[in-house]
């Protein structure tokens, strides 16, 4: 089951939905908004998605995970809109007969979401408002300048 949208992520509901009588292990990863990003203070984050594509990407990831692992249930959700510190932006929950498979599938799910999901974040803080990908570009430039000296 996959979802992209502004509704709050419910851990309890996700775990209920992946539960399965034949599954002994449930692994969950929850990404939450932190109060800092590599030292820069953060007060809130806004997530913007390309929703139609994001849904297609999550469905593809679920399909691939089910092909690679003997999973009972799979929940992949990413929240959009403005989130406060401590709120969950993303959840990956899977159930499997044994724990090794549950852990591996959960890890693979979040890694693929981070690499492939068309979602962008705007960080709000005392230093102003910045799109994450712009910060990363600036950081990369600073590194390059430093290295060429």
């Amino acid at each position: 089951m996959t979802k992209v949208g502004p509704g709050r992520i419910s851990l309890e509901s996700a775990v209920r939905r992946v539960g399965d009588n034949g599954s002994g292990g449930i692994a969950v990863f929850l990404g939450v908004v932190r109060d800092n990003d590599r030292g820069r203070r953060v007060s809130a984050i806004e997530y913007h998605a390309y929703p139609e594509m994001a849904r297609a990407v999550l469905d593809r990831i679920e399909k691939d995970l089910r092909k690679r692992f003997p999973l009972g249930g799979v929940v992949l959700e990413h929240r959009t809109g403005r989130l406060k510190i401590g709120e969950a932006s993303v959840i990956v929950a899977v159930s499997a007969p044994h724990r090794a498979e549950a852990f591996e599938a959960c890890r693979e799910g979040i890694e693929r979401i981070k690499a492939e999901l068309p979602v962008w974040k705007k960080e709000f803080g005392p230093g102003g408002v910045l799109w994450k990908e712009e910060q990363d570009l600036r950081r990369a430039k600073r590194r390059t300048v430093g290295a060429s000296r």
Binding site: G31, I45, H48, E52, I110, L117, V119, K132, L137
Partner: protein, 83 residues
């Protein structure tokens, strides 16, 4: 032909819009569309080249030929999740 263009995040800010329609010659590719957009909107110069392009939600190469009615999205490096 006419395609629908979508921008996101910092690129939407630079474009001054999140979407627009673009008129292209027949057999135009994603690379052609990118050049045209960067010419029309100088603030996009250098930015679209750092984006992946998706046609109808599927990531494609710059050489991909476009068709009338396609939805072309320019995707800055993604930053989903929370850490």
């Amino acid at each position: 032909m006419k395609v629908r263009v979508l921008f996101f995040a910092s690129v939407a800010d630079a474009a001054g819009t999140r979407s627009l329609d673009a008129e292209l010659g027949n057999r135009a590719t994603v690379a052609d569309l990118r050049r045209k957009l960067e010419k029309d909107r100088p603030r996009l110069a250098g930015r679209l080249g750092k984006c992946a392009a998706a046609v109808n939600t599927v990531v494609v190469s710059p050489a991909r030929a476009l068709a009338d009615g396609d939805e072309v999205a320019f995707l800055p490096p993604v930053s989903g999740g929370a850490e």
